[in-house]
């Protein structure tokens, strides 16, 4: 069969809607991951041993079980508990929890890289523990870990394609529809591959620029 991209033109609307849904899911999941990751990182850098242990177990489980299995666990499991939530919410929650495991490692190393003198100074000023964490530790840790967080975001975008398996018509899901409408799966999935690659590539470029901009006052040993 001839390779012909023009067959896709009438279906661009469907793909655009899918892309918007992917963007929404990723944005929400990124926020969810950062919150979850910050909480887990807080636990894993805390002075309490049980908390550190709990954080380790969390990261260990969610990094070593395939995302699709985690997602099915929530998607099929929650209705059994009487919680009827839609595929989009389930997907975002699953992405946030799994992303949180990766984000926590990033934020954790950001926290550990903070000069202890900074925290000691804050404590000497009599600031409350919570204030120290929210106003001093987190801003520094997040700022220095923009680049690795970007890698997590890229991963999140790629992983969000798996949401199509729980009936969510995001970018991959809507491409499946277009492929079965046009009978041209090769063109559809080829374009999809390129779109994802360009998308993630531009996200990592943008993140790199943001990282340099936010950390411009820090002299980097390796740029």
């Amino acid at each position: 069969m001839q390779f012909d991209l023009t067959v896709l033109l009438p279906h661009l609307g469907v793909l655009r809607d899918g892309a918007i849904l992917t963007a929404q899911a990723c944005a929400l999941a990124l926020a969810g991951s950062v919150v979850t990751g910050a909480l887990v990182a807080m636990a894993s850098t805390s002075a309490s041993k049980p908390l550190r242990r709990a954080a380790d177990i969390y990261v260990d489980i969610f990094r070593n079980v395939p995302f699709i299995v985690q997602m099915f666990f929530f998607y099929f499991g929650l209705p059994v508990l009487g919680l009827y939530i839609d595929a989009f919410t389930t997907g975002v929650v699953a992405l946030s929890i799994a992303g949180g495991a990766f984000t926590s490692n990033v934020i954790r190393s950001g926290i550990l890289a903070i000069d202890p003198g900074v925290i000691e100074a804050a404590q000497v000023f009599g600031l409350h523990k919570r204030t120290v964490f929210l106003k001093i530790v987190m801003p520094i840790a997040l700022r220095t870990s923009i680049r690795p967080l970007g890698a997590v975001l890229v991963n999140l975008i790629l992983t969000s394609s798996i949401l199509s398996t729980i009936t969510l018509n995001e970018l991959t899901g809507s491409a499946k529809i277009v492929a079965s409408d046009t009978f041209r799966p090769f063109e559809v999935y080829f374009v999809l591959l390129v779109v994802y690659a360009v998308l993630t590539w531009s996200v990592s470029l943008a993140i790199g620029a943001l990282h340099r901009r936010l950390n411009r006052d820090i002299v980097e040993v390796v740029s």
């Binding site: 069969m1 489980i61 079980v65 099915f72 666990f73 994802y196 993630t200």
Partner: protein
């Protein structure tokens, strides 16, 4: 089939699914390793055109979802090339290529970790190109790469769960089947998750042993 409670035969099913997952993982890792090293060798010798092509392919494979790659090979390729592709073939082709892209990146940085001066020294001693690669570059590059490779292996094991979407009856697919039959999502997906987790831990442990062995020459042996 009538839906109902678990039977002992379900354990056999889980075992079968696990063996399919492990076989797909082993096969694609082996092919991916050979392919990735071949691509890295192309780059090492700076073969024009081929080198740029390899970089482009590897970057695209790394920056696009595995699910879309699977769809492209399983649904797209048969239509374009008028050939038959079975789910297992599509899975092996896609995951091998995907693994190769990541191994390529690791291999390139591993080769670059061996200083150019060492290669020059080897040339001065009269070693041939092949001897330099085989006796000087590859032992050091392997010791450098083994850590990232183990991380990659743990990751790729989880990626194999996606082949269930195109109909390979692996562990995740068995989980799906059991889930639909018994309507016990928590038990089924926990069992599947535990099996994946144990496999990931096994890979990490075996990899750790291998790494210790490869690095024994650079260990601190005392005075």
């Amino acid at each position: 089939m009538q839906y109902g409670s678990f039977t002992w035969y379900d354990l056999v099913l889980l075992g079968q699914g696990l063996s399919v997952s492990v076989l797909v993982f082993l096969a694609t890792s082996a092919i991916g390793l050979v392919l990735g090293i071949a691509w890295a060798t192309v780059r090492f010798y700076r073969i024009p055109v081929l080198m740029q092509l390899v970089t482009l392919v590897a970057e695209t494979l790394k920056n696009s979802p595995v699910l879309v790659q699977l769809f492209l090979v399983f649904f797209g390729l048969p239509v374009l090339a008028q050939i038959n592709v079975t789910p297992v073939q599509a899975a092996v082709i896609t995951l091998s290529g995907n693994t190769a892209a990541f191994i390529y990146v690791i291999a390139v940085s591993a080769i670059e970790s061996v200083g150019r001066d060492q290669i020059e020294a080897a040339r001065v001693f009269g070693l041939s190109r092949w001897q330099t690669l085989r006796r000087v570059v590859s032992p050091q590059a392997t010791a450098f790469a083994i850590g990232p490779l183990i991380g990659l292996a743990v990751n790729q094991l989880q990626v194999t769960s996606l082949v269930s979407v195109i109909g390979v009856v692996d562990l995740t697919k068995i989980g799906n089947i059991l889930n639909l039959r018994t309507l016990e999502p928590f038990i089924v997906w926990t069992a599947v998750g535990v099996l994946y987790y144990l496999c990931a831990k096994l890979i990490a442990r075996l990899g750790g042993k291998l790494e210790a062995r490869l690095r024994v020459h650079s260990d601190w042996k005392g005075l």
